[in-house]
């Protein structure tokens, strides 16, 4: 709860790092499913990249649409699509707009600039299904996911 309140007060730190011997995990919370997906997506950027300049200021908007049988698989598919598009298009996403979301479908726009504006600290290869949890607890959504780094 304390962490959740911290996140609400400090939107810049909207996730918590979970210990894992070889990889990195995160716990994310939000009042809405849309907020959960957005926070997790932005955590990817914060974990891996550090903005250093704005030499390539042009903003690119990429439509990200994913579906799955359940919310956990949707969550992993969403994060992996963000990682994949980011790597393939050499973009770092600094903002995300969720257009539509339910537990089987997400339609969003990821907004980013050229990855050359950033110094990348960690290469996140993928989000995994290992110990994956996405659930609504009381009045907020919480997710835990482990990344292969």
């Amino acid at each position: 709860m304390a962490h959740f309140l911290t996140c609400l007060k400090n939107p810049m730190k909207n996730y918590q790092v979970l210990e894992h011997t070889a990889d990195i995990g995160i716990r994310v919370k939000s009042l809405s499913l849309a907020g959960l997906f957005k926070n997790a997506g932005l955590a990817l950027t914060e974990l891996s990249a550090e903005k250093q300049k704005n030499q390539y200021p042009e903003k690119h908007k990429i439509v990200i649409m994913q579906k799955a049988d359940n919310v956990e698989e949707l969550f992993v598919n969403w994060l992996n699509e963000l990682l994949s598009v980011s790597a393939a298009e050499a973009l770092i996403f600094a903002d995300i707009k969720i257009n539509q979301i339910n537990e089987q479908f997400v339609d969003a726009i990821a907004i980013g600039t050229d990855s050359r504006n950033y110094k990348t600290n960690v290469e996140i290869k993928a989000a995994t299904y290992h110990q994956l949890k996405v659930q609504k607890t009381g009045f907020y959504w919480q997710a835990e996911v482990i990344f292969d780094v």
Binding site: T21, T120, N121
Partner: protein, 484 residues
Amino acid sequence: MPDNIPLEKIDDYRWRIPKSYKPGMRVPGLIYASEKLLESIYKDKALEQVANVAFLPGIVRHSLAMPDIHWGYGFPIGGVAATDIDEGGVISPGGVGFDINCGVRLVKTNLEYDEVKDKIEDLINRLFSDVPAGVGAEGNIKVGTKEEKQILLKGARWAVENGFGTEDDLECTEENGAIPGADPEMVSERAFKRGRAQSGTLGSGNHFLEVQVIDQLYDREACATLGLNLGQVMVMIHSGSRGFGYQICEDYARKMVEGLAKYKINVPDRQLACAPVNSSEGKAYLGAMRCAANYAWANRQCLMHLTRQAFEKVFGLSWQKLGMFLIYDVAHNIAKIERHNVDGVKKNLCVHRKGATRAFGPGDLAIPERYRKIGQPVIIPGDMGRNSYLLVGTQRAMQETFGSCCHGAGRLMSRTASAKSTSADILLKELRSKGIIVKASGRKTVVEEAPSAYKDVNAVVDVVANAGIGKRVCRMRPLGVVKG
């Protein structure tokens, strides 16, 4: 120690997780470790993962764990599992991992320590500048769209045909640098796009290029066969299939999660999602995974070419005159179709090695003729502050582990804990005081990869040597390290 995982001691280096530990385990778990290494193994969830792997349909004999085992995702890192293809055995992308054919190659030189010690800084600076490393690094070796598929089919041979090596290099590479059966049609356009521009790049994280010196010989006959002596300077290259492999794993892990119900497969962790090797999904994944494996072999061949060029610039001699010949190149994240003896019967198995190295014993036809008498070279990188090893495979490994051995030291500490335990400045100074020069693209990588974050590779190799699944040939210590 958690008391919920019952471990039965078989001998000082072997421990069993009984099949009765979890309903659904098809075979017992078998862990190679000393009592001391078990203390760290118990601290994370690796043993639970060994038990989970035992659920895989068609798994034979044991779910195996090498002494460098640590917590992974789905499979433990350091896990080996073989499934019987003719009995519905499965293949699991999680049993290979995202970095398909992450592996390591060892190159010898005819330089001695005394000839290199005063040039090591120049050499490491040159390697750092000439070998692209780090996240998103783009390679200098550019490949046309039409050629991409050739890389996937020909692997390291593509590099050799383009002037980046010799036939001799191919002979000294597992599968001669190209596993047959690669099917580029099974690779998504996204994977092509993600891997583009990364040929000839080292990557980041635990990937490295290291200049080492041999500081201990164990097997003089094997050293003579390999042309190795005390004080000889060596080069080790650790890299994989980069974004290309990550995307293939992701594409197929997703398909197999969706397909678990189709084959009525019950696994306790979705990252173990799998499909029968002989199913359309299994065959498609194998075809795509082999493309990534071949891409990785081409990549390491290109990295060795760039390394040879860097040495030529620093020492003013051709790489041939510097004696920079490849000892061997091994994969340590891969699934292979191999024939093994299972309880007296030869069977076609799908052997998953997730953070484990093939270690075929003497006489096996898969080993280059020049090494057939001594067994397949097995390269075990350690951390950047201690040692690395060259071993050879044994007959005992053939009997017990489907010809498999450990792949490294194995992590002990999480990246965040490691980063908190020291600073890059302190660590680099400490290493320098030991005569080890480190150049890295990111300072964060340096602290995450601190020696204290890893088990002592000497203890890990003691276990495989004493258990008889690997035989020590020589030990190296680092002189200089290039990190991504």
